[in-house]
């Protein structure tokens, strides 16, 4: 089957199976059922190794499927962290036992995953995290707090980065684990975001045990595992896996032109600017995709795309409300929701400032900032918020 046929077949399958015909049913149940069907049809883990339950195909098939799926909103949100981040990390860095145990159940939609890196005192500087994992016989015991954890309230498993040594510099005393989110020592508290939704959580660990078989990578080598996960995160954001088409986006040109006075030349010029910025980024993303297909790995340039998307999101919601005026901020106007939601893209997955650092350091090769935190033992370092 060539790529076009693959895409056509995928599209036909999606038309048959991705229709949202039971919106009143429990979304988690619906997601699990859909993932199981996706797995049986051979569209789950398209590029993942066959040995662990994937299809063993290439990025080309993955892209063909994404293209076919563009017009559908796949009900796989609760699996987005597992599929986009924790699963690929286990495939890359887990033991064979861990891959055997965890990868297939994820691809079949049987188990939901979350990712536990950020903490109240460790956001952009995630390596300064303070959650401790301490040796306890053959295993480990975890205490601490995590935050911004998407889908944790549904999760069976979490990929946890914890501090295992405070006597060494901060990057060198971290270890990665798989933690059982159903353990009674794990408390999940929903956090209400500024848009009023509760899609992420804060998590408390009180003496939660972890067997050593659930350690991912070597002791104190957790940072390199985390870098793998974060790379997958940025890729999955820019690839927009499972994202909608933007057809319903109230900040898009198609929506705004219907509700504003386009005979006003000032309005027209604002809409032209909106079009220019959209096309510029869309074409950049398409070029990155074509390069990937041609075997040129975008690497840190993906951070430029993520930065541009974040800025565009802020700009569009801001522009939409300014053009529509007072109606846009009352009575549940969609733009009201959009303007509340728009900062998210500039914060999650690395702030705009961090993206600029990455582009500057890794794409342009600029000299790094002098760092005081690379050589000092963690216990002597200032971390978090201090008066």
């Amino acid at each position: 089957m060539n790529l076009d046929e693959y895409q056509l077949a995928a599209r036909a399958w999606l038309e048959e199976n991705a229709a949202d015909d039971s919106p009143e049913s429990d979304p988690v149940v619906r997601s699990k059922e859909f993932m199981a069907k996706l797995y049986d049809a051979g569209y789950s883990g398209i590029t993942w190794p066959e040995r662990w339950g994937g299809q063993g195909l290439t990025q080309a098939e993955e892209r063909a499927f994404s293209t076919a799926a563009r017009d559908f909103t796949l009900p796989i949100y609760v699996f987005s962290i597992g599929l986009g981040m924790t699963g690929p990390t286990l495939v890359d860095r887990g033991t064979d036992e861990q891959r055997e145990r965890f990868v297939r159940p994820l691809l079949r939609g049987e188990e939901i995953w979350c990712q536990l890196f950020s903490e109240p005192g460790a956001g952009s500087d995630v390596a300064s995290l303070q959650t401790r994992a301490v040796r306890d016989g053959d295993g480990w015991v975890v205490n601490g707090q995590k935050v911004w954890t998407s889908v944790a309230h549904h999760a069976d498993w979490g990929l946890l980065l914890a501090r295992t040594d405070v006597e060494v510099p901060k990057h060198k005393g971290l270890t990665m684990f798989v933690v059982d989110m159903r353990h009674p020592g794990v408390t999940v508290r929903p956090l209400k975001d500024m848009s009023g939704r509760s899609n992420f959580n804060e998590i408390f660990f009180d003496d939660v045990p972890i067997p050593d078989e659930h350690r991912v990578g070597e002791v104190n080598d957790g940072w390199s595992v985390a870098v793998t996960t974060l790379l997958h995160e940025r890729l999955s954001i820019s690839a927009g896996v499972g994202m909608g088409t933007g057809r319903d986006d109230p900040t898009a040109l198609a929506a705004l032109r219907e509700v504003v006075d386009t005979s006003d030349p000032l309005v027209r010029d604002e809409l032209v600017e909106l079009h220019i910025r959209n096309r510029a980024l869309a074409l950049f993303n398409q070029r990155l995709a074509q390069e990937t297909k041609a075997g040129i790995f975008p690497g840190a340039r993906g951070s430029a795309a993520k930065l541009l998307l974040a800025e565009l999101t802020l700009y569009q919601a801001d522009l939409g409300t300014r053009l529509v005026g007072p109606d846009s901020v009352v009575d549940g106007h969609p733009l009201s929701h959009a303007i509340s939601l728009s900062p998210a893209m500039s914060l999650g997955g690395g702030t705009n400032e961090i993206m600029r650092n990455i582009v500057g350091d890794r794409v342009l090769g600029l000299p790094p900032e002098p760092r005081v935190d690379k050589t000092v033992p963690f216990k002597d370092l200032k971390v978090g918020t201090q008066g």
């Binding site: 809409l271 220019i276 950049f284 070029r287 074509q290 650092n357 582009v359």
Partner: protein
């Protein structure tokens, strides 16, 4: 849609880039148009005939290749009538004048095109032939012929001259129809040059930020500088994507060309000037001096941005095409 260069296009880029680095480095650019350099550019690389049809002795290449070449001549701020000859060649698409096209392809003839009134014609002093659209008809006049007076203009851009041309009894030779979409194709060609100016400006300031020290640190290590450079890189990525798209549309998708061309001028023209400006500013005081090259890029970027008219025309064209 093709947004990534082919192997052959990358080879063309390398060849033009290394030729210009050796034959026309910036100190030489300041000396102005050099016929020797053009003779080699056309003889060794065949650049003047790149988009001339094979039957007239050209390479018959498309806009995708042309954009690669123009990006490099732009990055090098190559002085002389290269872009103007490209403009003229584009104008000759339907009025295929054999003598002119084969002369251009062989590098014997340089040309320019009136994109506005004759009192400011780019490279009017250097070009041999001026093409003037008279209504729907393209006409040509020998610039060193009788009845033609040309006076050099003092231009902001030190690397591309303009002349005021006065025709007083000169004979205008009718060549054929002015091709449809001429303005769009000129806009794409110019955007390719602007992409080169943008890229070279960014490369120059990135290189400087890696060696210039202030307060005991390389200036590129300060976020105040680094973040600006990162934003400039984002503009480069988007500008390149738009230029590839517009060149592809010019070659393969005429229906998309008008929007692509207006987008190219509206985005790339602005981005090029902004990056050239910030590259000058980030150099500090030295960037404001005559001896430093920063102002050459800054001035070319500004002259290019307004070459085809005040930039708002590209925006209002977009509004029109989007039926806003």
């Amino acid at each position: 849609m093709k947004l990534v260069l082919s192997e052959e296009q990358r080879e063309l880029r390398t060849a033009v880039r290394s030729f210009l680095a050796a034959a026309s480095p910036l100190p030489k650019v300041r000396e102005g148009y050099d016929r020797e350099v053009y003779a080699r550019l056309n003889g060794e690389l065949g650049l003047s005939g790149l988009i001339v049809a094979e039957e007239y002795g050209g390479a018959g290449a498309g806009f995708a290749e042309l954009a690669v070449a123009l990006e490099e001549t732009g990055a090098a701020l190559l002085p002389g009538p290269f872009l103007s000859t490209v403009f003229a060649t584009i104008a000759l698409t339907e009025a295929a004048d054999k003598e002119l096209l084969s002369g251009i392809a062989e590098g014997r003839i340089t040309a320019t095109l009136a994109t506005g009134p004759l009192d400011r014609v780019i490279n009017g002093m250097e070009a041999d032939v001026l093409l003037v659209p008279e209504g729907d008809v393209l006409t040509a006049v020998e610039l060193d012929g009788p009845g033609v007076t040309r006076t050099p203009l003092e231009t902001l851009d030190l690397t591309r001259g303009q002349a005021s041309v006065r025709l007083d009894g000169a004979s205008l030779r009718a060549l054929g129809p002015v091709p449809g979409g001429l303005g769009d194709r000129l806009a794409v060609a110019l955007a390719a040059e602007q992409l080169g100016v943008l890229r070279a400006s960014l490369e120059a300031i990135v290189a400087y930020a890696k060696i210039r020290v202030a307060f005991g640190r390389y200036i590129g290590s300060y976020q105040g500088v680094k973040h600006k450079l990162a934003d400039m890189h984002c503009k480069l990525e988007q500008a390149e994507s738009i230029v590839r798209f517009a060149a592809w549309a010019a070659d393969e998708s005429p229906g998309e060309l008008p929007q692509a061309a207006a987008l190219a001028q509206a985005y790339v023209g602005r981005a090029c000037f902004e990056v050239a400006r910030d590259h000058l500013l980030l150099h500090g005081g030295i960037g404001f001096t005559w001896e430093h090259d920063a102002h050459l890029f800054y001035k070319r970027a500004k002259a290019d941005e307004v070459l085809l008219g005040p930039p708002r025309i590209h925006r209002s064209r977009l509004a029109e095409l989007l039926e806003l």
